[in-house]
């Protein structure tokens, strides 16, 4: 079953792969030029590790209880910077994302302290919620 030799077909596959790679070539820098799209900024993304790890902890019911009982103490377990800690305590969604928080982690905070995802969206854009629903999502509100 295993292919132990390189056949002409393999070489052809490799050549087509290389062509595809060439055609599709883009760089992290190139993608990062798409306006207002933070996830491709590697420096920010890597900087969010602690914040994201804290939020990942909220997948565990015991940690959700700890968060609700004493949020500051829960946050302190993850060695957040003062900036990160403050952004979480203030529920400053835009700032959490700016600090490298990924939305899928941030949403775990919204599971413990309920807020709609569209409110998080509106906050990041700096729009009123109803205006966000109308203008960005085309809803009739």
């Amino acid at each position: 079953m295993a292919q132990l030799t390189i056949s002409p077909e393999d070489v052809a596959v490799e050549a087509s792969l290389e062509a595809a790679v060439e055609a599709a070539r883009d760089t992290a820098a190139g993608i990062a030029t798409i306006p207002d799209t933070p996830l491709l900024d590697r420096k920010h993304q890597l900087g969010g590790y602690r914040l994201n790890k804290m939020a990942m902890g909220l997948s565990d019911p015991a940690n959700r209880e700890a968060f609700l009982a004493d949020e500051a103490a829960y946050l302190d377990r993850f060695g957040l910077t003062e900036e990160e800690r403050s952004a979480v305590m203030r529920r400053d969604w835009r700032e959490m994302i700016r600090l490298g928080g990924n939305l899928f982690f941030v949403l775990k905070i919204s599971a413990v302290d309920p807020v709609r995802i569209t409110e998080i969206g509106a906050h990041q854009v700096g729009m009123e919620h109803d205006a966000f629903l109308r203008e960005r999502l085309g809803k009739r509100v």
Partner: protein, 280 residues
């Protein structure tokens, strides 16, 4: 040998699951969305596939940033629903197909794909929602076994669209060389247009979504040649997960029958689309 009978593409928006949990599927807001899936549900019920290969991404529910596999194949016998912050959703666990999954891993490695191999993992809405949309929510057990293929579409670098298309072709090789009379479907999930992060949050592109639903059937080679940047620009940062549909399409024949497609916007913050492709 095993046989691939068709491909299903669908969004996997978590709010679809929430709507089902709260029994909102017949409300005016959601009914047009769920109605769009009825023809595909009927097809699945008639065809009764034995195994569903589900291409999706974990949304940091089972996998964390400490290790990020570009591709991973689930070889487990069972997959429990993940706790995404509200507790696990009330759905039965999914039965795996480990024998085929290991054959798939062998075939991938022999064809220069080197996936992470997973024997224990929970699955989040990325897999749950598509299964509920096409199979309905069973009381006790799912009538189909699943093989999850996890793709990293969240932390860059994510794989090239052309690579995913090629992965689909290799998946077909694996199915067609599997000694069994089982019938397979492949699910490509994610998208369509949406962006959840940054000042571009709320970005939607219904025209491009509708065009994608046409092109995935008739011009997949072109979609596979797009850059990742073009996917992000066209469909939004999270909408770019649409590249996972290319695995499904790559697994099918060049010529396919479009049995059904549907589009609904917005489901939560997402352009929600589906397609049912049958082997010609």
């Amino acid at each position: 040998m095993a046989q691939i009978i068709g491909g299903l593409g669908t969004s996997h928006v978590p709010s679809i699951g929430v709507a089902l949990d709260k029994g909102l599927d017949a409300t005016p807001e959601w009914k047009p969305f769920f109605d769009g899936y009825q023809p595909a549900r009927q097809w699945v019920e008639e065809q009764k596939p034995d195994v569903a290969v589900v291409v999706f991404n974990d949304h940091y529910n089972a996998l964390f940033l400490d290790r990020v596999p570009t591709f991973a194949v689930g070889c487990a016998g069972e997959y429990q629903p993940a706790d995404e912050g509200w507790g696990p959703r009330p759905i039965p666990p999914f039965q795996g197909a480990p024998d085929f999954a290991w054959h798939l891993v062998d075939t991938l490695v022999e064809n220069w794909f080197d996936p992470e191999v997973i024997q224990e993992i929970k699955v989040d809405h990325g897999l749950q929602v598509p299964m509920e949309l096409f199979w309905g929510r069973p009381e006790d057990a799912w009538p189909v076994r699943v093989v999850p293929i996890f793709v990293n579409v969240l932390q860059y670098p994510v794989p090239l669209p052309s690579r995913l298309y090629h992965l689909g072709k290799t998946l077909r090789t694996a199915i067609e060389s599997y000694e069994s009379d089982e019938r397979f479907v492949v699910l490509g999930t994610g998208g369509l247009s949406h962006q959840l992060q940054g000042a571009r949050a709320g970005f939607l592109n219904p025209d491009a979504d509708r065009q994608f639903l046409e092109d995935i059937a008739t011009r997949p080679d072109e979609l596979a040649q797009w850059s990742r940047e073009k996917y992000v620009e066209t469909f939004g940062a999270e909408g770019a997960e649409l590249i996972m549909w290319l695995v499904m399409r790559g697994a099918l024949s060049p010529e396919v029958l479009v049995r059904h497609q549907h589009y609904f916007v917005p489901a939560s913050m997402t352009g929600a689309g589906m397609i049912l492709l049958e082997e010609a």
